[in-house]
Structure formats: C-alpha cells, structure tokens
C-alpha cells in the first residue's frame, strides 16, 4: 500500500498544545520529563516523554524553546493528565506560568516522496534547513523532520491563519491527507502515534532509549529505567512487520506461545510489540508474520 508517489500531502494534527513561560520554566519541565532540556536553544525542538512511577510512557512530547517560552506538544488524549501534572508540581517560589494553547495553535505536517515537490509547496528550500530547529517564515514556524524514507516538514501556525496557509500550499500543489493516508505515511516512516504511546509501554520497548537521559537526575520512572538499563532485562521491543494476510490491531499469541501486540496496522504491514526472544519469522493463527526491522 502506498500513497501516490508524485503527490505532496498535508495533514492537520490534533495535538495538545501547552505553553510554559517564566524564568524557571525549563527547570520545572525538566524535572518531569525523561530527556534533559536544560541546554535547549532558542528555536530548538527536543523530543521527550513523560512516564509514570513504573516507568511506563504516559505522554510523548515535542518541546520547543521559542522566544523564551516553552511550547509543549503532546498527545491530544493525554492533555488533561499532563497539564495536571505540570500545574500541580509548580513550586510556590518559582516563576512558571502555564497556558493552554489548544485550539489557538495548530500543527500541520506536509510530506512528499520528493524533496523538490515539498519545497515547491512551501515556497522555501527544504534541503538547506537544519533538523530539530524551527525557522520562521511569514507568520508560521517550520520544522524539518528527519524520516526514514520520505521528506516532511511540520508547520506551527496560529489557528486563525490556517485557512490562508492551506490555500497557499494547495495552490502550490499539496493535497489534504486523511487519516488513512497519514497512517500509511507514518508506518512507512516509522513514526509512532498515540496507538503506541498510550498502551503502557516502557520507552525502551518502543525504541525510545535515546530520549531517556539517565544521568540528568530523578524524574518519574527514572528508577525503573535505570534498573532496566543496568540489568539489560527489556523483554519486549517494537518491530515493523509484514504479512500476506490482513492483520488488525490487537493482541495475538504466536506459535511460540508468546504475546504479540499489533499496535498499528495497514493490513499487511505495521508495528508490533513482540518478545525479544522471537525469531524474525513467526506464525499467528497459521499465517506467517515476518519481522522486518526494529524501530
């Protein structure tokens, strides 16, 4: 399954948007998350996680420093819980103001298999952009995403400017992408979603070790992550799979008797969290499942 290779598509995300400002905002947020943002630079975007005391992921965040404020994008379904954690843990003597940006700011992803098409749709040269840093263009912020196969940028824009922005990119050849095509794009490019983040996995099980910093000091879940790291006892990992028959999202038992959790599926390919003891080929209900790649 593939979306039309000649096209450039855009997808409007439903993220939770939180803005934190004040001189102690970085210190405050850094105490909660798994990565270390104490050295975050202006316009830099950092990926991070919030975990519970058992080390399991409760939210996945993109944190950006923009003009002295922190912009925090999270999984929409987790917005209330994450904001509650941020607000209730504010120290009385720290300068931190937390704002709800839901509905006021929007994130749009524009992607294509061809970099020139993407540049044309946006009217800017993508190849010269740095990864992980926003650039400011007209009244929007643009961030280049590093993907496995395709090219993508994410746009941060005021919600009331979105119509004119869409008119421009559509005029330059981009087409609106629905949920189905976005899922094809994200599975092909190894982009995780709330289908993975909201199922109680540990960061290592989703291949997210690199956004866990065990040297930064305590954060919720750190004790568990440190123990797993030192003992090397992760029992599951996320893999891309393919199969000849249709496989829906759900939990299955393999021919080896172990659990296979299919978290995202396009039918005959997707992501599954499986035991590290499984071989690269296994059977589910007599159908062959081939594990092609670790994410």
């Amino acid at each position: 399954m593939q979306y039309e290779s000649s096209s450039c598509r855009y997808y409007i995300h439903e993220h939770s948007v939180t803005v934190v400002e004040g001189k102690d905002s970085i210190k405050h947020i850094n105490r909660i998350i798994t990565s270390n943002i104490t050295e975050i630079k202006d316009l830099e975007n950092c990926k991070s996680l919030i975990c519970d005391a058992n080390g399991k992921i409760t939210d996945a965040l993109d944190i950006s420093s923009i003009s002295g404020q922190l912009l925090i994008l999270g999984v929409k379904e987790n917005a209330e819980k994450t904001r509650e954690l941020i607000v209730s843990g504010t120290h009385w003597n720290e300068d931190v103001k937390i704002m709800n940006g839901d509905g006021a700011l929007k994130i749009i992803s524009i992607f294509a298999k061809n970099q020139e098409k993407l540049s044309k749709a946006l009217g800017i040269e993508i190849s010269t952009m740095r990864n992980d840093f926003w650039i400011i263009e007209n009244e929007s912020y643009i961030l280049k995403a590093q993907l496995k196969n395709d090219f993508q940028v994410n746009i941060l824009i005021q919600a009331d400017l979105i119509d004119s922005f869409i008119k421009t990119v559509e005029g330059n050849g981009a087409e609106l992408c629905g949920e189905d095509n976005w899922n094809i794009h994200r599975v092909e490019n190894g982009i995780l979603s709330n289908e993975e983040y909201n199922r109680g996995f540990l960061p290592g099980e989703l291949g997210l070790d690199e956004i866990v910093d065990l040297k930064k000091g305590c954060y919720p879940g750190q004790e568990i992550h440190a123990r797993l790291e030192s003992r090397g006892k992760l029992s599951k990992k996320i893999m891309r799979f393919r199969t000849d028959s249709k496989l829906d999202v759900g939990t299955y038992i393999s021919n080896t008797g172990r659990k296979v959790r299919v978290t995202s599926s396009l039918g005959n390919q997707g992501f599954a969290v499986i035991s590290v003891k499984e071989n690269n080929e296994l059977k589910l209900n007599d159908e062959l499942l081939i594990l092609t790649e670790e994410l």
Partner: protein, 144 residues
Amino acid sequence: MHKYTIVHIGLLSQGFMGILGGGGFTLPVITQTEVVDVKITVTDSALKQMKNTIQGEEDSHCLVISAQSGGCSGYLYDMKIMEKPEAGEFQIQEFEGVKVYIHNNDSSLLNGIELDFKDTLMGGGFNITNPNASRACGCGQSFG
C-alpha cells in the same frame, strides 16, 4: 494510604504576547484552584531538631515545607528554613514557637503529613510520612 486528591485546574484568560509574535490572541493561564485546610503533625524529635536549627530566629524565620514535580515517584518534598515569606498564600501552624508554612498550592498534597526526625548516621534527617501518597521513593524524598 489514600490516593492524593485530584487537582482542579482553573482557567484565567490573559493577554499573551509570545509565540508567533503574539499580539493577536490570548491563551488561558492554567492555575491550581483546590485549597484544603492543612493540618500537619510534628514528632518530638522533629520539633527538637527544628528548634535547634531555627534557634533564636523564631520571630523572623520559619520552616517552609512544599512539594514540586519530579523525583522518581512524581513529586518531591522541599523543606527550607528561611525568612518568613508574605503570609498571604500560606497556611501557618506553630509548634512551640516554630512556625511551619505550607503554600495553598501544596495544601492538597501535604495535608495530614507527619514530620519526623531520625538521628542516625545512615538514612537520618527529616522524614515525611504522607497519607496522600500512594507510593514513595526509597530515598524518602519523592512521593506520588
């Protein structure tokens, strides 16, 4: 052990002049609104230690106990002997002349705590038992 009370979040719309140049829009500020009447207990050993530490400065200084996000279990205790802050947003309890301040924002997390002091070489110092915590870190500094 009780699970801590869920924080109620209040929204106050305020002018916002930051991301994307601001000017044209406002974002609601989220604040914590749940305040409960705080009652804490202090053991004899903790009181003795508090008096030793604050000795002679009872009129100007106090003990502030607070909670902040972080630690292995979600929240971290913070205790400071400091000059008395403005009383406005604090609840104050007095123990034989030593005043203990708890901020209204921390009231639901810290109501009912018992402050103890252990005079041991290993694992000694002030220790908090919190009925609102469903779990605590081994080091005793974090709870959730």
